[in-house]
Structure formats: C-alpha cells, structure tokens
Point group: C2
C-alpha cells in the first residue's frame, strides 16, 4: 500500500469538457488514472480536505466524486484511515467501460444477462484479485503444485498407450457414464473406503466442480433451500446461489457440523440437500468425528434429507485415525450422493471426479451430464485408469501425505512462533487448530480485526492468503484467514510466514496509531506515512 | 419384429398372489417377462381376443392390463396392426421398479428432483433406445469414426510432449479461459474464417455442448423465449427446455431460416436468443445462403436479437461455395456468439470447442464456466494446440472432405435407386435434397407415414437411422428420417441402404394390407404373420 504518487493538479488539468460538472470531471479523471495504472491498486487517495485544498474547490464536490467512485466499486473509504483504490479497481473500471460502450451500440448485452449470471458476477466481483507480483508467496488458493504430480509415470503410461491397441480409444467419444476401465478402478478405490458401488450407481464427471453443478441441476429449483456448512467451499456457494437456492448456514464445532442447529433448521425448512465436506473441510480443515457422522445420518434419515458428501481430500490424512465416508456408514447408501476426485492427491489437470448415488439419482445425473457436456474427455480417463490399474496410487499417496504433513507442521511451527512474539491488545495475534488432513489451516485474528485489511499489508510484503469472509454465507465474519500449506515448500512457508508476521505487526501498529490519534492531526499525518 | 415366442398359459401359471386382481396379475407377469427378456423389444403381443381366449378370461380384463402397460410406457397399440413391446420397455420397466423400490425406503428421491431434471428425463425417455444387435448398420447418431482421426500424428505429438518441457503442464490446471497455446491457434483458425477475435473475446470450452450450456446459463431465465430452427439439434433443445426456456420454432426453406416467420415472432416476443446452425444444419443439412445471412443480421440488428451461431461442421464443405460465418459478416461482431469445434472434422474425444463473443459476454461465460467445471482438461488442449501449430489441420481437412463427399454421393445414389424402384400410393418412397456439407441427409417419407413405424421394420433388417420427430419442437412431424453418411464406409452404406429398401417395402406392404383388410379377418391373420 502506498500514497498515490500523482500530481493532482496535473490530473485535472485540461480535462474540462464544456458543461460537465466539476464533480463528474474529478470522477472521470480518477477513473482514467485507475485504468491507465497511474493510480495503483491499494494506493491511498488524498482526503476530501486535502484534495479540496489542492484543487481549490469545495469539499462537498470532492465528497460527491468519491461517493460516485465508491458506488462504482473503485475505491473504499475507511473512517480514520483514509480512502484507497480497491485491489481490483482497474479490472472493474475496464469492465464498466466495456459495458458503457456496448450500451451505445444497438445491442445492450447487459439487459440480456440471466439472473444466474448476475448473481455469479456479483459474488465473484467481491473477491480480491490475485496480486501480480513476481516474488509473492501464496498461501491462497488450494491447488497442489506440479512438484507432486506423478509426471514420470504418467509420461511412461502415455508413451505405452500411444503404441498400444488402446491408442484408438484415446481420441474417440467416451461413454457419458465414463470409460469402463476408469469406472472399474474407481469402484475398486471406493470399495477400499467401504463404499460398495453398483454399476448403475457411478458416474464419472469432469472434476468435482461438475459434480456439484450436476447435483444442483438435478435437485434444486430456484427458491429451494440448501444447507451448507458455514463457512463452506466458495465455488459451491457460487453454484448454489447462481441457481437461486436459498442457502441456509449450519455452523461447525470441533466435532463437525452442529447438529442442534441442523435439526432446528430441518424443523422449519424442507431443504433439498445438505452439502457437506466431512473430512478436512474447506476452508476450516475441520474433520467430522465418526460419532457425529453417525448422528448426522440418523438425523438425515429422520428428516429424509439428501446429503451431498464432497470427499475432495478424503485421502489426504496426516494422522492415524481413519474417517469413514458418510456413504459407507448405515443409511449412507440410501441418503448420500458421494463425490470424490484425485485432483488434490494426484494432479488437478486431468479434471476427473466421480459421483456415487442411488441408481435412480445416478440416472438423472447422467442425463444432466449429457445435457451439460455430452461426455468427459477420453484421454485423461484412460491415462488415469492405467495408472490406477498398475496399483501406483497407494504408494504415491503415502509419499504426498508425508510431504504435506511436513509442510503442515512447518506452518504450524511458524504460526506458533508468530503468536509467541506478537499480540494485539493482550490477545494472541492468531488462533487456530491443527488440521488432521487436507490442505488448509484456518486461523483467526483477534476480534474486530479484518483479514481484508491485513491483506492490504500482506501483499506489499510479498505474501498472500485467502480472506475468510469469502467462505461465509454472510460476509460479516471478517477475522479469519485461510492458509494453504501444500503449495509451497518448507523454506517458502517459513519465509512467507515471516512476511506475514511483518504485515501483521504493521497492521496492528496502524490500528493502534489510529486509536491513539483520533483527535491528533499530527499523529494522523504520521499514520498516513505508515499506511 | 417377431411374434412373442412365449407360452402364455405358463406365463401366468402359479403367479396368483392372494387377493391380487386378475388384470393386475397379467400386468405384473408381462412386466416380469419384459424385464427377464422373455418378451423381447418390439415383439408382438396376442390381441385382446387371443389372450382372453388362451387364458379363458373376459376380454375386458385383458384390455385393462394392456391399458396399464401402455400407460406405463411398456407397450404400444396400433389400431389394425396389433400391440407391441416398446423398444426401450426393458429399461423403462427396470427404472420404474427402482423408483418403486426407493419409495418403500425412508427417502423418496423422486420427490426431490428439480423441474429441470424432470423435463430432461421426459424428453430423453421419448427417444428410441439404440438397438443392441451386433451387425446393425447405423445411419443414426452423428459421430465421426476413428478411421479418420489423425491417430499417428497425435501419438507422435503425445510422445514428443512427454519428453519436452511442456510435459509438466499436461497434468496441471489450465487457465479457465483455456490454454494460451490453444487460444492462439484457435484465434488463427478463426482469422482464416474472417473472424477477428480479441484476447478478451475467446473462451475455450469442453466441447460444443458445454458452449450451449454456458450461453443458456448466462442469458436465459426460466420462461424466457428462445428461437430455434425447427427442426434443430436434439441436445440443444434439451438444454433450452431443461432451463425452462419457451422454445419458439422458426421453420427453414431451401435458403435457410424463414425470415418472414422470424420477423413475425420478433414483433410478438422478446426472445433472449436465436440458436442457429447456418452451415449444414443438424438435422436437415440445410445451408443458409450468404444473402439470407446478411438479411438475418439486418433483422437481428433491428430487433436487438442476440444470436448463438453453432458452426459445428462449418469446415466440412463438399462444394466450392464458401459460406462465411455470421460472426464474420457486418453486425456479427456485436450480435453473434460464435461457437466452433474440431470434434466433427478431427476427432470428438478431445471434447474441445470455443465460444467467441463480445468481451462483456465472454467475461460472463467465463464466470459460468468456472462455476460449472472450473476449467478444461489440460492435456487435450496441449495436444490439439501442438497439432494445429504444426499446420496439419488443413491437409487433414482436405482428406476427410474428400472421403465424406464420396460417402455422401454413395448414399445419394443408393437413395435414388430406392426411389426408382419403390413408390407408395404413386408417390416417391423418399424425397430429399443433397447437402453441400456436414453429416446428414434429411429424407421425407410420403405424407401420413411414420419414421418410428419404419424403424420397427428397419431394425430387424439390421439398419437404423434417427427418426425425424426427435428434432422438431412439436413432435407431430413424423415423416422425416435423418441419415448420417459419414460413419460407415461406402460398402456399408450400400448394404445398409439395401436393408432400408427392404424395410420400407415391408412397411409399405403392411400398411396396404391393413387398409385392404380393415373388414377382412383372414387378411388380418396374414398381416400378423407379415408383421
């Protein structure tokens, strides 16, 4: 974050256009400067008073211009700290200009967009843009890096395939329910997790996200209630919301889903679905205990509640305890649509996953799949089937578990170190639990602080993470940060956590300065330098 | 089609279950026999009178049983010709049983399905099941066969890739807008068709079907009007209908879309979209003339009508005339979302296509893609990009064009031969136009005849095709058949057409017998043998 390095008198010079009101000239000039990159993301604008004094105009004119820019989502004002260019302002402004231009043509597309598209656009527009710095260490996202993909083995398989009888299959349509060889291997894999899956109960899909999309298509009418863990997976929330489901939040405790809240919701609503990640939930890393799983199924049975179990990282366990999927437990066969993938434990680019559901539901999912993309790419299915046939997955899994566990432990140590040396108002700088598996550590700032504000300090230090409000159904929970520990090696984790510590210290200091200086103009000037 | 080869007394013997009414016993027994395969698809059941006489029961009891089975979609009665097991009866009955079973469990999924899923299930349930005979010659479907995929070259590319620097990219996430190398090649390809496509105007998708799905997601609210050619592509109709669009039909003439009808619809409705295949339309093979294309764009501009141009076989031209895509013509840049694929000209299993749209629309499509499946599989994109980079597509296209043209000509000759030797009531047995490109010949039976009835005669002869009513928005147009000429070699085309000629002759004869024998019991017996 930096002071906007710009000559404000120059900015407005020569820009007067006939009868255009002064506030509109200011709005337009600042917008131009944002699009031209002269006003960088996160840079600080002058205060109303300062800009009014520089331009020798009335403060209300500046206020009106700032209000318009804020309305357009280009700047953010924080009482006591100042006004800043939003991190995605350049992109937003450009998109608005395109929209404006198209309005002058004969067809105004913005009139044409569906409700679903508007909802999606609003949800995604609120997310921070990825910083485009070169040396940034990212604890954001949740994508395994290519260091762990079984490249050599895959390459060998591909090479063998191209000279085999199967080569011809690689470029033809696959059956919409999935390639038979992959289906066979997935069923074996599922059997290993206690899930007996009949031929008519399995559908191969193009990655977990398609699984969610198909389940929503098959079950959810606009206005239907859907239950989600709160917080939950961002793209699942987007998918449900875009289909105009009423998303009802179910909070978590350290055993998993809060069943008392769930039961109370079930007595008041008839939800179509509970979407849940029992093992190492995204974003919290929370693991539902076996007892809680059994209780959940009892409750679901009582209320005839269908469950979509997203087992996206079920295999990535770092402790001894085995967590059986809901689908494998009593009632699961009947109540649960189970979703799995190798994207996280193996590699994400194959875009393959699966759904296991009662036959009647599987048939509906199959039809939705046909209508959505006809069938999944053959070559990826054949490669994965071969890899599984050779029995290599288990060994690979042992290896990545070991590595990811080390990375988790490294991050935990670094977090412990931060909190030993850094406090805020006598509270620990961060609190968190150690996840027993998965990809994420979910950490909490002291009450009243904001992960988005911390991000403004973190990015200039060269470290980033996912702000936690992204994952809540109501975005007012702003103290959380999600840290992904699998996509950076141990050295980078340590370095990134040091940067985070610096950012936190600066963020905490800035707040203390603000509180100390509410009535002290001198200190406020100092604070501006600090920000 | 065969007489049901079954001992009807045995069928019902020992099946009495306490108080179950007699008609219900008959219904259940026939259902069991269908599921067990004892009553084969298309086999003929005894008449009411015959079965009543065999079982020594009242005819009204048989009537009631047959009415129940007909209601359940398991049998079809045709006045004067008899009662037949439907071609997909076994599958339907099994699905109904699953549904029945699940009703006895605590969760009845059938209560849970969305409106979209119900619509899709109804639409697809009406389609004939693919015959599972071994030696059938299929003119149904529209999938290029692997004989024409560039196997050797693909294999060589894959082999080279696995030992290159790019190997690592093959298994990672691709950017949601598509792999940069493929995007570059697609933009070059489009430029060759007169479409200048900016970086922000292109989205790689997982095949054309996903393109349609995303466009529907982004533009269509339930209840919105969408215009389609009538007849049109089956899976597009399914997609629009499942999203509860009001599908308005626009008929075709030999120049393309009927603009007089279109204009009249546009004055009465505000459709969100016109979905159109200007080049070698599915199912008709119709090619819109350049003049008609220009007029269509004029009209679209006047009514601010967005167009989705599906150019699925734009490259498969067999005559000299060049047909410019709508997107490349005046107004196209602004009004048209253009969709293309290499699935038909190259190979279908890569599941790759693209959308070209104004930047604002492309951004919305991009968001819908993220919500739908995050991104497209990397390996297929990289293989295709390499293939295109090497400049091999043009030569391959020349080759398949030549082969497909020959197949088209062979089918045309065979059709000519049929109509020379076969008439119905003095009318030619079939009429058709020769398509200048694409995959299909669209042929018409004499007025009043039914392609579904012909199919009953064709399948036992070992030949199949797509009945034309599948493609109409209102299924009452039953005289058409769609013949795909690209997926069988010339010898098989000739053999299949000979079989079709026999089937047509038998079908025509059966109708003549029926008309001749309306009041003649003896002839009816003879007709039963014939059927």
């Amino acid at each position: 974050m930096s002071e906007a390095n710009i000559n404000w008198l120059d900015l407005l010079a020569g820009k007067s256009e006939g009868q255009e009101p002064l506030y509109a000239q200011i709005t337009r000039s600042i917008r131009d400067a944002i699009e031209a990159g002269e006003l960088a993301d996160n840079s600080r604008l002058p205060t109303n008073r300062e800009l009014a004094s520089i331009l020798q105009i009335d403060r209300s004119t500046v206020s009106r211009a700032y209000a318009e820019l804020s309305e357009a989502g280009l700047i953010d004002s924080h009482v006591g700290r100042g006004t800043f260019v939003r991190s995605s302002a350049k992109r937003i402004s450009q998109a608005q200009r395109i929209s404006q231009t198209s309005k002058n043509l004969s067809l105004d597309w913005s009139d044409k967009f569906s409700q679903a598209s508007k909802i999606l656009s609003d949800l995604i527009g609120r997310q921070p843009a990825a910083p485009n710095q070169d040396d940034i260490i990212s604890f954001g996202g949740g994508i395994p890096i290519d260091e762990f993909y079984p490249h050599e083995k895959f390459q060998q398989i591909v090479a063998e395939l191209t000279s085999s009888e199967q080569a011809k299959e690689m470029f033809g349509y696959s059956a919409a329910e999935g390639h038979p060889a992959l289906r066979k291997e997935v069923r074996k894999h599922l059997a290993g997790h206690g899930i007996e899956c009949g031929e008519g109960e399995l559908l191969i899909v193009s990655g977990s996200q398609q699984g969610i999309d198909l389940v929503t298509n098959v079950l959810v009418n606009p206005g239907d209630a859907v239950l989600l863990e709160d917080p939950s997976y961002f793209w699942a929330i987007c998918n449900f919301r875009a289909k105009q489901a009423k998303c009802l939040p179910v909070p978590l405790d350290n055993q998993g889903l809060r069943l008392d809240v769930l039961e109370s919701l079930l007595t008041r609503h008839q939800p179509k679905l509970l979407y849940v990640m029992p093992s190492f939930q995204n974003p919290t890393g929370n693991a539902m205990t076996v007892t809680r799983r059994l209780q959940l199924l009892e409750l679901a049975k009582r209320f005839r509640l269908p469950i979509l179990e997203d087992n996206f990282v079920g295999d990535l366990t770092y402790e001894k305890e085995v967590l059986p999927p809901l689908k494998s437990l009593p009632g699961g066969k009947e109540l649960v649509i189970h979703q799995g993938t190798f994207s996280k434990a193996l590699c994400p680019g194959l875009r393959l996953g699966w759904l296991v559901a009662p036959p009647e539901v599987t048939f509906r999912l199959f039809l939705a799949k046909r209508s959505s993309d006809l069938s999944t790419n053959s070559i990826a299915q054949i490669i994965l089937a071969k890899y599984l046939e050779e029995g290599l997955y288990g060994k690979h899994l042992d290896y990545v578990r070991l590595c990811y566990r080390r990375r988790r432990d490294t991050m935990v140590q670094a977090l412990t170190k931060i909190t030993r040396s850094l406090q805020f108002d006598g509270n620990p700088a961060l609190t968190w639990s150690v996840p027993a598996g998965g990809l994420f550590i979910w950490a909490k700032l002291p009450s009243g602080l904001s992960s988005r504000d911390l991000l403004r300090f973190a990015e200039p230090e060269g470290v980033t993470f996912s702000p936690g409000d992204t994952f809540f159904l109501n975005a007012d929970q702003c103290e959380y940060i999600r840290l992904c520990f699998i996509q950076t090696d141990e050295a980078a984790i340590n370095k990134g956590m040091e940067r985070l510590a610096i950012a936190m210290r600066r963020y905490f200091d800035s707040i203390k300065h603000v509180s100390a200086s509410t009535h002290d103009a001198k200190t406020r000037a100092q604070q501006n330098v600090l920000i």
